[in-house]
């Protein structure tokens, strides 16, 4: 008889629910449904069809910069992911963890055939993090987030970072001539990691950088129309409806 059945046998009904919840360690995501980094993690959870409990961290009141949040992530950033007594931060470490643990479930997000195929995937994940994200996240910050807080967009920074992003997208355009997705011919974590910034930038003048490159445009259309991604962006379905009150 396994642990779960033993619990059901021994405990009265009212206690069972709490105990089962403890045993069947649910995933928790501390974050904000509009945060790019939180959405990166939500996307993977939806691709894998996994349930989780969302816990809102009030970024507007700097909750993430104080205790008790700092005990979860001393860098004071969202998201934080809990799996039992394991607490992880850095969204790209979280997505990789989920993708590995659940590699035989839902969408295949890794390329585990050999060390060589995984190395190519790791390389493109680094490219997203070190080449694409710096200009893309600055452009999202200037054009999308600052206005929400009533701050003015700095057009010099926009121009500078668009120039950097153009060079990166030129490399992507060539790559996508040889490969349907960035790492290989199927959708992987690499493409998924791009989604949060791309989604926001499509609502700004920067969208033209993606639209004027045929292969990039096709790739953007394909990855942004994935069901799991649409769910991750749906604040009600992926966040508020799942919260325990």
């Amino acid at each position: 008889m396994d642990c779960l059945q033993m619990v059901f046998k021994l405990l009265p009904n009212w206690k069972r629910e709490a105990e089962v919840k403890k045993l069947v360690a649910g995933y928790k995501v501390h974050g904000d449904p509009f945060s790019t980094n939180t959405r990166r993690v939500l996307a993977v959870l939806h691709e894998k069809g996994l349930s989780y409990e969302p816990i809102t961290v009030k970024l507007q009141t700097d909750e993430h910069k104080r205790e008790p949040f700092l005990s979860l992530n001393p860098f004071g950033q969202v998201p934080v992911f809990e799996d039992g007594n394991v607490k992880l931060y850095e969204s790209r470490a979280i997505t990789q963890y989920i993708a590995y643990v659940h590699s035989s479930r839902g969408t295949q997000l890794l390329n585990l055939r050999s060390h060589e195929t995984m190395a190519t995937l790791t390389m493109w994940m680094e490219i997203e993090a070190h080449q694409f994200d710096p200009p893309a996240s600055k452009l999202t910050w200037e054009q999308v987030i600052k206005p929400i807080y009533g701050l003015e967009t700095d057009q010099t920074i926009v121009k500078e970072n668009e120039a950097i992003l153009e060079k990166v997208l030129n490399v992507y355009e060539k790559r996508l001539e040889e490969s349907r997705f960035l790492a290989c011919n199927s959708f992987t974590l690499v493409d998924l990691h791009h989604l949060p910034n791309i989604q926001y930038l499509l609502g700004t003048p920067t969208k033209i950088l993606f639209e004027k490159r045929t292969k990039v445009r096709k790739w953007v259309d394909e990855i942004t129309s994935r069901e799991a991604w649409k769910m991750a962006c749906d604040q009600e379905k992926s966040w508020s409806n799942k919260q325990r009150n």
Partner: protein, 215 residues
């Protein structure tokens, strides 16, 4: 003949990161210099190895890679049985923690440390002037990161776990340059960080990387 080729230069922090991993693993390789002053990294044939026009690039048989942290991870996995262990053996949760700290180096430490090394060390080498305001800002940001490292290293011998891993190794090149500047006080003034810096920079594999610079 070495099947592993590294295209880069011993002075480059990203190249050093890869060389460190190769030496830790005791692997034979050929270092093929890239003439940065002549702009070779921004032209063919280098662009076929790295379309972003950066160093290093690595060739291992038919496999071609760039992005130093992807290369080190490939080396650590493919040659896991050789030389020193660079990843924490264990279950997926242990690997996840190593990956957290690999990301922390890449996302929190390096953006500040490498710009600071650029200001303090590289600008001077190329006849440019250090910007004191930039140095102050970057040191301010780096201090906050190192405070977190100090707390972490009070609970763990190395960043990811109690053994040396890629999470520590990835820091070596920037730390090496900064310890030769006034910024070294940031590391020296934090006892656990200082102890960790001494341990990781004393590794024989790292000494071999520094030796290459002197040749």
């Amino acid at each position: 003949m070495a099947t592993i080729k590294v295209h880069g230069v011993p002075m480059s922090t990203a190249t050093m990161r890869v060389l460190a991993a190769l030496y830790e693993k005791d692997l034979q390789f050929e270092l093929i210099p890239v003439d940065m002053r002549a702009g070779a990294h921004k032209q063919e044939p280098h662009l076929s190895l790295n379309p972003f026009g950066q160093i290093p690039a690595l060739e291992d048989g038919d496999l071609s890679l760039f992005e130093s942290r992807a290369i080190t991870q490939y080396i650590a996995e493919e040659y896991s049985e050789k030389g020193e262990k660079l990843l924490c053996p264990g279950c997926k949760k242990v690997k996840a923690t190593t990956n957290v700290w690999i990301q922390v180096e890449g996302q929190q430490f390096d953006p500040n440390a490498s710009k600071l090394a650029f200001e303090r060390v590289f600008k001077g080498m190329f006849g440019m002037t250090t910007d004191p305001a930039a140095v102050q800002e970057l040191e301010g940001k780096l201090q906050k990161v190192l405070d977190i490292y100090e707390a972490r290293l009070s609970k763990s011998d190395f960043l990811a776990c109690d053994c040396f891993t890629l999470a520590d190794l990835h820091h070596l090149p920037a730390i090496h340059y900064l310890m030769g500047t006034d910024s070294k006080v940031l590391f020296d003034s934090r006892p656990k960080v200082s102890e960790w810096v001494k341990k990781i920079t004393a590794r024989p594999a790292w000494a071999k990387v520094i030796d290459l610079q002197k040749q």
